[in-house]
Amino acid sequence: MKIKEIVNILDAEVLTGEDLLEQDIEAFAASDLLSDVLALGKDNFLLLTGLTSQQVVRTAEIAGGIGVVFVRGKAPEQEAIGLARSHHIPLLMTSKTMFEACRAITEAIISEEKK
């Protein structure tokens, strides 16, 4: 699944990285605990989180993430946007809650598998 598809599924706003949405997502992480994200052990993942600090982007970048979705319509700090631009990580924002966002993505994955 490409990040571009997530934009549609979550009805998300692209805050930065419009040109980076063609990347393939290999795993998902949904967490407000960055320690857990660091312990994920997978590459090329998309992170869904309720946190908004620059550490979110730092963690995603270091742990091998390729994009971040901020849930519940919470915008990240400006510092996070700067860091994301420097590391070429797209940032999305959705008004869906963490649960709704995870459910929408799961449903899309299942319907894709059925095809």
């Binding site: 857990d36 963690t59 270091i62 091998g64 400006q78 510092e79 420097s86």
Partner: protein, 310 residues
């Protein structure tokens, strides 16, 4: 404006309206007229410049009145549009000194519902040096907010650029990066630099991730738990050696600290999404070799080795 009365944590825009001065937001090229001008002249100038009010100044640029679009409409309506404005203009003009903060300006806009405020040289002067609208304030705020992101981006780009030359030296001698106490915004800097460098050396992605995670967790540990310290990185043949040293206060019980979930981190750290007691166990998981020594007198030394593969 509710924002001014809120006792909640200051938001970014809220902080900025206290920091930025009127003179940094105002328009300096003021379109103004003398009291001898007619409403018709002013109406044409308003249309041409897409403005809805002009100050009336004397020969020394002191403000003596203001003409708004409402005044012009009334003049049209009551057939004195070709008269001089001198007898009709609003003479009690609310102004703001240029060294006041935007918060005072916003309060005045709220209080008087004006579209613009003429800006004076200082609180005791009537000399006009600029004009301020809510649009000017908004532009300035947006610009300042954008600058924050841009500055972080530039700083990070610079960091990553420096890393290449530096890390070439890491093959001869250990490279040392200072890590400051409680400097969470910069924690991860070393990890990013090393990740960026190894990426260009075509190191396997999983190894790349493990190296940068060990670095990041070590940086976080130093800034969260210690008085400060440093990270040293050395590439020795096919191994990368990461040594994290801090100046105390030391880990009382290493065995306990290695247990997943054990933590002494504060609420502030937890709010950032860290301090779950996963740092050391995660370092152990990612490193091929780990050594941890701690003394309550001198501090903690962590040594991690990761094989770069190939």
């Amino acid at each position: 404006m509710t924002i001014l009365h809120s006792r909640e944590k200051l938001t970014l825009a809220n902080e900025l309206i206290y920091e930025i001065k009127v003179k940094d937001a105002m328009t300096r090229e003021v379109i103004y007229f003398s009291e001898e001008a007619t409403f018709r002249e002013i109406q044409l100038a308003m249309k041409k410049n897409r403005i809805s009010g002009v100050p009336i100044l004397d020969e020394k640029k002191n403000i003596i009145g203001i003409v708004s679009i409402d005044n012009v409409i009334t003049a049209l309506d009551q057939n004195y549009v070709n008269d001089k404005v001198k007898d009709y203009m609003t003479k009690e003009v609310v102004t703001i000194p240029q060294n006041y903060s935007l918060v005072s300006a916003i309060k005045k806009f709220e209080q008087y519902k004006f579209g613009r405020l003429p800006v004076t040289e200082n609180a005791h002067s009537h000399k006009i040096v600029g004009i301020l609208t809510m649009g000017d304030i908004l532009n300035r705020l947006l610009l300042n907010i954008q600058t924050i992101a841009e500055n972080v981006e530039k700083k990070e780009d610079k960091n990553l650029q420096i890393s290449e030359d530096l890390l070439k030296q890491a093959q001869q001698k250990p490279l040392r990066f200072e890590v400051k106490k409680a400097d969470f915004d910069n924690a991860g800097r070393v990890a990013s630099i090393i990740r960026n460098y190894l990426q260009k050396m075509n190191i396997d992605k999983q190894i790349l991730r493990r190296v940068s995670i060990v670095c990041y967790e070590a940086e976080m540990n130093i800034s969260i738990h210690s008085l400060g310290g440093y990270i040293s990185v050395q590439i020795e043949g096919n191994n990368i050696i990461i040594i994290a040293v801090d100046y105390g206060p030391g880990i009382p019980d290493i065995e306990e600290a290695m247990k997943p979930g054990f933590t002494t981190a504060s609420e502030q750290i937890r709010a950032l999404g860290f301090g779950a007691g996963m740092g050391l166990p995660n370092i152990k998981k990612c490193a091929d070799y780990l050594e941890l020594e701690s003394s309550m007198e001198t501090g903690t030394i962590l040594k991690a080795v990761i094989h770069l593969g190939g």
